[in-house]
């Protein structure tokens, strides 16, 4: 016999209704996320093509790696893991993620520190900073494509006006600068997000800490390094991981700004090309699966490392 039958019946009822309430969401997530993911992984082990998905047959790991023996000791490896273009796009993606997130963190930190000061017109400045974030990625890619235009672009005009370059640069067309162009647009577009997250962290730092440091005559730089930075580190870290996961799956900017070049092709672009442009559905699925594994690994490591507070116990 339960000591308090009323309460236990109540909590049983509530548990039942909890699952009832969760059901529609869980079913939806299963249909749009879990099932398609499972199918993608399955396709990556088959010979599926765009027109013959239902007749796909199991082929083992051939899409990932296969050794074809030409006879007489001659042979060659085929498959994703032996594809130089795939590894190039892995490298492009990692390079893009590391460089863009680093710059965004530094710029975001600077902007957050500025916005954390009291000054006239702060609201307006914060509003202005949000504008790049509000502009759709595709629109910013095309806006910048125009600004970076080799003949009529305003960026080349500015740089030439300042005497920094002698000849106009074909930013998006030249393989040497294509990645730089993509990085510029992405950093411009996502720094506001970073700044906002870091600003939220900054605003949780109690103001009297600064007062005390000021009274003790500690220089601002040391206060920042010894007090502010350690206190906002968790917020910065979360922002960095969010952005890094986002950067690793980058597609839109690259697809629109610099289509079809080895210099910027990322994993997502590579996968989609194979899925829908080259009719290599199974092969593209293998690329998607690998990208998923990489991101899953990073996410799990992060959640384990920070022991994220999922139950809300600490708050």
């Amino acid at each position: 016999m339960s000591a308090n039958p009323v309460k236990s019946r109540l909590s049983r009822n509530r548990t039942r209704s909890a699952w009832l309430f969760l059901l529609p969401m869980l079913v939806t997530l299963f249909v749009v996320a879990a099932w398609p993911l499972g199918r993608t992984v399955w396709f990556s082990f088959t010979d599926a093509s765009l027109d013959m998905m239902s007749e796909a047959r199991w082929v083992g790991i051939r899409n990932y790696l296969e050794y074809v023996d030409f006879g007489g000791g001659e042979g060659q490896y085929y498959g994703l893991l032996a594809d130089a273009r795939w590894w190039r796009s892995v490298w492009n993606t990692v390079l893009f993620a590391v460089v863009s997130v680093s710059f965004e963190t530094v710029f975001g930190l600077i902007i957050a520190l500025v916005l954390n000061q009291q000054f006239r017109g702060r609201g307006l400045v914060r509003a202005a900073v949000l504008i790049p974030w509000a502009i759709p990625t595709i629109v910013s890619a095309r806006m910048w494509a125009w600004m970076l235009h080799d003949q009529f672009g305003i960026i080349n005009d500015m740089l030439q006006g300042l005497g920094l370059i002698a000849e106009p640069i074909a930013w998006t067309a030249s393989p040497d600068t294509a990645m730089i162009a993509v990085l510029i647009v992405d950093i411009w577009k996502t720094t506001p997000f970073m700044a906002l997250l870091i600003l939220a962290g900054l605003q949780m730092v109690p103001g009297d800490i600064y007062e005390a440091a000021k009274l003790d005559g500690i220089p601002a730089w040391r206060v920042f390094r010894k007090v502010t930075l350690p206190l906002i580190m968790p917020a910065v870290l979360v922002a960095v991981v969010f952005r890094a996961l986002d950067a690793l799956r980058v597609f839109d900017i690259v697809y629109v700004l610099t289509p079809n070049t080895d210099a910027t092709r990322t994993m997502s672009v590579y996968a989609r090309e194979n899925l829908f442009d080259y009719d290599q559905f199974a092969y593209g699925s293998a690329a998607s699966t690998l990208l998923f594994l990489i991101i899953a690994l990073i996410t799990i490591t992060f959640i384990m490392a920070t022991r994220m507070d999922l139950e809300g116990k600490r708050s």
């Binding site: 509000a134 962290g201 799956r249």
Partner: protein
């Protein structure tokens, strides 16, 4: 104690640079969109012309108007559906203690980390199976993958922070959970729902990969894809003026929304991330 003059000057110079870099590209897009013909091919820093030809070209004759409506339809329906599903789910996840809750939250969070490309081939099959290919419903359906986890996550953190007392009276009166949600929580949750709805709307409005893949005819496309696909017969015939006009048309409402709801958006964004 006043800071030295050079510090003040330096600070405001920094503020000026920050504002300028944020605003200039959009300013330049507006400026370009108002130029036509030859004027387009001279670099101007200040507006010289006020020619609405590009806007006329985009809004009359073509399918761009229809494409805007497509985007509005998809984003609106996605937001309504995911809010409906998320409110009840968030209630269960935040107010009811039951086994497996932490694991469920973890699942929801991990779905929001899903790279869209990882589900693309599987979703393509599902959408063809449901006969939704080239239908706007395919986007409503597939966008749930990012709007739903996000709304659930933010609403859960919001509801968790509401005090227990607010529902105690209702529980004592024997009100059902659904009544408690409707009568007690919904009135309190409007601000959070406006914020998450707004962010989900922006996300859906901007989505590109699914919209590019699941739509095959011009009249069914949403605006990001439409703008990405505007091109000329050759590299030298790209109608930059038209592209900029289209860009300004689809961005102005967003910029306005963001400026009006600035505070709400900032709190929504940070609730989604920092509260982890």
């Amino acid at each position: 104690m006043k800071p030295p003059v050079w510090q003040t000057v330096g600070f405001y110079a920094l503020v000026a640079i920050i504002v300028l870099q944020a605003v200039f590209p959009f300013y330049y897009a507006i400026l370009t969109s108002l130029e036509d013909g030859q004027a387009l091919f001279e670099v101007n820093y200040l507006p010289k012309a006020l020619d609405l030809a590009n806007y006329r070209a985009m809004l009359t004759g073509g399918v761009f108007g229809k494409q805007i409506l497509n985007s509005v339809f998809v984003a609106t329906v996605v937001v309504i559906l995911s809010l409906c599903l998320a409110v009840t789910a968030a209630f269960a996840l935040s107010r009811i203690r039951f086994r497996g809750r932490g694991l469920l939250l973890l699942t929801v969070l991990s779905v929001s980390m899903f790279p869209q490309i990882a589900v693309l081939s599987g979703l393509f099959e599902v959408i063809r199976f449901l006969g939704l290919f080239n239908s706007l419903w395919s986007l409503v359906f597939s966008y749930m993958i990012f709007t739903l986890p996000f709304t659930v996550w933010v609403l859960t953190t919001f509801m968790r922070n509401l005090p227990v007392e607010i529902e105690e009276a209702a529980i004592m009166d024997g009100a059902s959970s659904l009544t408690i949600i409707r009568r007690v929580f919904l009135p309190l949750m409007w601000p959070a729902m406006v914020t998450t709805g707004l962010l989900a709307f922006i996300h859906a409005w901007n989505e590109f990969l699914f919209a590019l893949t699941f739509m095959s005819t011009d009249s069914q496309r949403t605006v990001p894809v439409a703008i990405a696909l505007i091109s000329g017969r050759s590299e030298f015939e790209i109608p930059w003026g038209n592209i900029m006009a289209a860009s300004v048309i689809v961005t102005l409402p967003l910029v306005a929304l963001v400026l009006v709801f600035q505070r709400k958006i900032v709190s929504g964004l940070t609730a989604g991330a920092v509260k982890g």
